[in-house]
């Protein structure tokens, strides 16, 4: 059995166990995906409490929708993240229409380094401040631009994937990503981050 086939059968089995109501199987899904989903939610909300609520919302949706997962259509991780993105983007659009407080507790968070400098407290503080600045700049983008930039540059989705997810033409996606990136670069320059 190849590595991919093994993965597919593991996914299928995990889903089967979840559907049978096995708590340990759900624990495995939570352990594997909570961090990733929380981070996605945090990028869209810029708010710790809202990100946590949204993560719960995503898991509830996953719980209800898991029966619809078909292992032949791709691996579980992709399917889960697709559901998560849908929930988070729906929520984001709803909030964009009824704007309330936003991004007020960016400072609470511990930003993690992707690679090095973990041991250096000075670097850690700097990194944390940088993370706050970048999230603050992202928060200043209009909702449409922000959504596209986050999905492209932080989530690494392709133009086509974003177009499908947001149900807008690919041309619109391209132009929004471009405008969003230009705007972000200008904001960061004005904030003297670059």
């Amino acid at each position: 059995m190849g590595a991919k086939a093994a993965l597919v059968s593991h996914d299928a089995q995990l889903v089967r166990r979840c559907l049978a109501g096995e708590e340990a199987a759900w624990e495995e899904i939570v352990r594997q995906y909570s961090r990733r989903i929380y981070n996605l939610a945090y990028r869209f909300t810029g708010n710790r409490a809202a990100a946590e609520d949204l993560t719960q919302e995503v898991f509830l949706r996953l719980y209800r929708a898991l029966g619809q997962y078909d292992p032949r259509e791709g691996d579980l991780a992709n399917w889960l993240m697709r559901v998560a993105r849908n929930v988070i983007i729906d929520d984001y659009r709803r909030r964009a229409r009824t704007p309330t407080e936003e991004g007020e507790d960016l400072a609470d968070h511990e930003y993690h380094l992707r690679a090095d400098e973990r041991g250096d407290p000075h670097a850690l503080v700097e990194r944390r401040e940088l993370g706050e600045l970048i999230h603050a700049a992202l928060a200043k983008l209009s909702p449409e631009l922000r959504t596209c930039v986050i999905l492209r540059d932080l989530e690494g989705l392709s133009y086509q994937e974003i177009a499908e997810l947001l149900r807008i033409p690919e041309g619109t996606v391209k132009s929004r990503i471009n405008r969003g990136r230009l705007e972000l670069a200008r904001l960061l320059r004005r904030m003297r981050v670059i």
Binding site: G21, E23, W26, E27, V30, R31, S34, R35, Y38, N39, Y42, R48, A51, E52, T55, Q56, F59, L60, Y63, R64, H109, E110, Y111, H112, L113, R114, R127, L130, G131, I134, H135, L138, V149, R152, D153, L154, Y159, K174, S175, I177, N178, R181, L182, L184, A185, R186, L188, R189, V193, I194
Partner: protein
């Protein structure tokens, strides 16, 4: 290529999505225009920064909370609804209790229901008992006394009640659906005749009939007394209720008048 067009194509260039023809024009413009070069550098730097920021650390108990939410999703809203009263009464089993709490955390609609019911219960507990209308106790006592007097006054009424009680009591089986009074009279006559015969011909006969009949009569007398007592109580009770009703109506009328007066006064 002009700067405007260059700006439009920056993202596609960075994502490697430009056609060969466009890419060539893009690079040509890049080498000739310092402003556009600086702009491209900025965008690249901004994106690199964004990607370098990495992940934020969720609260340490996030996973535990998610697990609780999922456990709660395992209970249906219907089952939740059926347990609400038991929850407030504190009679859920430990398992039920945990599932119930988890569901309340997981389901916003059920949580709202629960909070609503809790609020109503709290409100109901806070409501003070209504004060008695002034003089109600005296009126009640008065009513009871007069009812008692009425009940003991008319002998005719008492007689009638006794008769009714008797019919309801041990006379009941004698009632016939047809011509009830006549049927009963005939049965009674037959019984009296029988008794006379037994009494006259008896006097220590072989069959001990007389003591049995005597016992029957004793029992009948007891039952009649009991019936009378019940009827008397009922009568008293009815009189009390009607007096109370009268008192209540006049109270209501009086308060209605007071309200009316209040409204009509400027």
């Amino acid at each position: 290529m002009e700067c405007r067009e260059f700006e439009h194509l920056i993202s596609e260039y960075l994502d490697g999505a430009l056609s060969a023809e466009h890419a060539e024009a893009f690079v040509a413009h890049l080498s000739s225009c310092a402003d556009c070069r600086a702009l491209l550098d900025d965008v690249q730097a901004a994106l690199e920064l964004c990607r370098s920021v990495g992940e934020v650390e969720p609260a340490p108990d996030l996973d535990e909370r998610l697990r609780r939410v999922l456990r709660g999703a395992a209970m249906s809203c219907r089952a939740f609804g059926e347990l609400i009263s038991s929850y407030f009464d504190g009679v859920l089993t430990a398992d039920e209790y945990h599932l119930f709490e988890a569901h309340a955390r997981a389901c916003a609609r059920c949580r709202r229901d629960l909070e609503g019911i809790a609020a109503v219960t709290r409100l109901l507990n806070e409501v003070d008992p209504v004060a008695l209308p002034e003089g109600l106790n005296e009126r009640l006592l008065q009513a009871v006394r007069s009812a008692h007097r009425d009940a003991s006054r008319s002998w005719l009424r008492r007689l009638r009640r006794r008769w009714a009680a008797w019919r309801l009591g041990w006379g009941a089986p004698l009632r016939s659906p047809l011509l009830p009074r006549w049927a009963m009279a005939m049965v009674l006559c037959a019984a009296t005749f029988g008794l006379l015969v037994v009494n006259l011909s008896g006097g220590g006969g072989r069959v001990p009939v007389r003591p049995a009949i005597a016992r029957l009569f004793e029992r009948a007398a007891e039952m009649r007394v009991e019936g009378e007592r019940v009827v008397e109580h009922l009568g008293q009770w009815r009189a009390q209720v009607s007096t109370l009703l009268r008192a209540f109506r006049s109270d209501r009328e009086r308060s209605g008048e007071a309200l009316e007066k209040e409204r009509s006064s400027p």
